[in-house]
Symmetry: C2
Subunit: 412 residues, 2 copies
């Protein structure tokens, strides 16, 4: 008798963004004339940079000729791309990453989800709270989360490390010792960051306790302050304890184009139950070559173009565009008297709801009265209750319009 | 202490194709002037059909304008592609598949590997032997395979169903009852097929025993005989017991372009340990939306073009090109007195080595003496020992040249 993975049956209701989509659809069906401004899902809206477009066309033409056609490529990514990644993103920061420590993939969502494959189900997992739901859901699917407790909104076996205004969004070291720690900085959803010495606390903790840090740096390109690390490997010793996930999605507008990469240093080791050391790079290489067949050739050429002279200029223009939106949102909300966080090193603004209004009530209020869609903070975990996320990925005109509507709504 | 998934440590040596690559590299380093003809890995060589190229260019242009730019799409695939798949591949055969039963993905390798996520590790797995290594390796990684026994070349907990010339490559129902059965028809690596009544035996067995069949139909486009089913759903009742994997890789030359799809009928159920029925479609939808972010928009437009009028003609020309190679290989080998299988409904020719020569010896012989690379049958499982796979995916000229070299080598 074919048996299912019963862990899937423990997953509660709908995924956050499905529920948002459901409510928005319901509203727009009832109000067909309302112009909805979407500041919910963290999805980019600007077209791909011209350098990327040119490179795509060129690669498509290569695929049209037998002489230049490409079939299966290396699952880990073509060297032309891996070289560019290392030369531009990594080694100028003194990280000294080698080619076989970089794995090109179709997305950080896939990689942060799939990384659990090479790790024991017995590991104790810690997440900052609020948290990107994929970290928790994929551990629940694997059987590392225990049971979901409706009452607390938490999984029984996951360690939640609260990050709220009360601790200035700086996660405290946990009382109970985890084996695996997910850190995402600049943070999704709060838009906050850790400075070098704050991140060092975690690297040191992981070194002392033989923990593995899964570091999601998807928003690295949005860092504007000089004392915020772009990579966890800027911290001494991090290569022994951390995997870093990076993406072209938010940097170069690749959410619909799909390319990312994951760094697994060769000196990074985890353990067997008997305490023997095992190189994680080797295990991931095996996973990646067995369960994945590489990113499309033309998409890898597109990603390569991000590092051309024109590409770099165009990508920084993209980032500036969104960060101008972030500034508009920040300043407008501050003027309205909101308590807000993020938006300086990340395209996310995390706001405290007025009078501790529950996140979903605030969601409905904004949807019904201003036709603005954001993301309820509680959707990211219990410590997100009473918060709300707005993203800066919209069009500038729409962002300005949304802020005008909020001003009217809140009568400020 | 971060623990690894120790199942990975049980995986023996290198993946088949890595070992082939190693031997070929060694040979070509020692013999830099030798012109090697590669008939090993099942990778296409013809350029993408023109309709696909045109569609790619058009989609790239869409990504260059804010009005037509696409960010995140539905993880399950755009409806424009799902509709075309259903209208062309499925429902003309009377399969009556619904849109939400089709999941577009980046490859059948990914899907056949990842499908285990939604299934219990307690399931007993059966594979035909020889077998596409991904089925076995991914189950070993998940902990369903037991231990690898060097002596037999088998995993202790996997049921191997021999398919050799002795049984005309028709798998017999196993004595011990499996929960999950992998079937790949037209078969990789043997190139053989099952006729409708032969496949029906397995569907009926799965229905009676509550088994799940994972049916890999990646080579469906190569079927030339009318009594060979193109889809397992042509067999009555199959929707209750089978998942079908399909790919654009071998059909339209997408090995480096990456697009596939998987069909999970809503009536397909598996079980909890208590015997409650669970819809697998729902579980896979959760997996697919949580651990995957969709195929690139432009790649989905490329796949859509496969179904245009021009696309269909061009794809059938592609298939004909490779099947002409298959015919050349078949006839040449038959003339040389080889005992061969496949090559009629699949681009693979499976040959019996002369005098029961071990597969790897035959590999080395062909590499050293004819500079032709094939795949040792034993690399696909113990029942592949004494067999060898040649693929028809090369250029016609190279295929002819390879056959000439073999004629010289075997002095026929």
């Amino acid at each position: 008798m074919a048996l299912v993975n019963e862990n899937y049956l423990k997953l509660p209701g709908n995924y956050l963004f499905s529920e948002i989509a459901r409510r928005v659809n319901e509203f727009s069906t009832a109000n067909p004339d309302a112009t909805i401004i979407r500041m919910g899902i963290g999805d980019v809206t600007r077209p791909l940079p011209d350098a990327v477009i040119q490179s795509l066309h060129k690669a498509v033409d290569e695929m049209s000729q037998a002489e230049t056609f490409k079939g299966y490529g290396p699952e880990q990514g073509y060297q032309f791309l891996v070289n560019k990644i290392i030369e531009n993103d990594l080694n100028p920061r003194g990280l000294n990453i080698q080619n076989d420590e970089v794995f090109v993939s179709d997305g950080s969502k896939s990689d942060t989800g799939n990384i659990g494959d090479i790790l024991s189900v017995k590991n104790k997992v810690a997440v900052t709270d609020p948290v990107y739901p994929v970290y928790v859901d994929t551990n629940a699917m694997a059987g590392r989360a225990g049971d979901f407790l409706e009452k607390t909104g938490k999984w029984s076996d996951i360690l939640y490390i609260p990050c709220t205004a009360d601790n200035n969004f700086i996660p405290a070291l946990p009382a109970q010792k985890p084996d695996i720690i997910y850190l995402c900085y600049p943070n999704n959803p709060t838009g906050t960051t850790l400075k070098k010495e704050q991140l060092k606390v975690w690297v040191d903790y992981a070194l002392s306790n033989k923990c593995l840090i899964l570091f999601d740096a998807a928003y690295e390109a949005y860092i504007s302050e000089s004392d915020v690390p772009h990579s966890i490997y800027e911290i001494e010793g991090a290569k022994k304890v951390a995997i870093e996930f990076r993406s072209f999605s938010k940097t170069a507008g690749f959410t619909g184009t799909r390319c990312a990469y994951t760094i697994i240093p060769k000196e990074l080791e985890a353990y067997t139950e008997k305490g023997e050391k095992v190189q994680l790079n080797k295990l991931w290489n095996r996973r990646h070559t067995t369960k994945f067949n590489g990113v499309p050739y033309i998409i890898q050429r597109a990603a390569e173009a991000v590092y051309s002279e024109e590409g770099k200029i165009q990508v920084s223009e993209l980032v500036n565009y969104y960060m101008t939106n972030a500034k508009i949102i920040r300043e407008s909300l501050l003027n309205m008297g909101f308590e807000i966080y993020g938006g300086i090193n990340a395209p996310y603004i995390w706001l405290k709801t007025p009078n501790n209004m529950p996140s979903w009530d605030f969601f409905d209020l904004l949807l019904q009265k201003a036709h603005v869609v954001g993301t309820p903070g509680v959707g990211f975990g219990p410590s997100g209750e009473g918060y709300f996320r707005l993203t800066a990925f919209g069009k500038k005109e729409a962002t300005l319009e949304a802020m005008d509507r909020l001003k009217t709504l809140f009568n400020k």
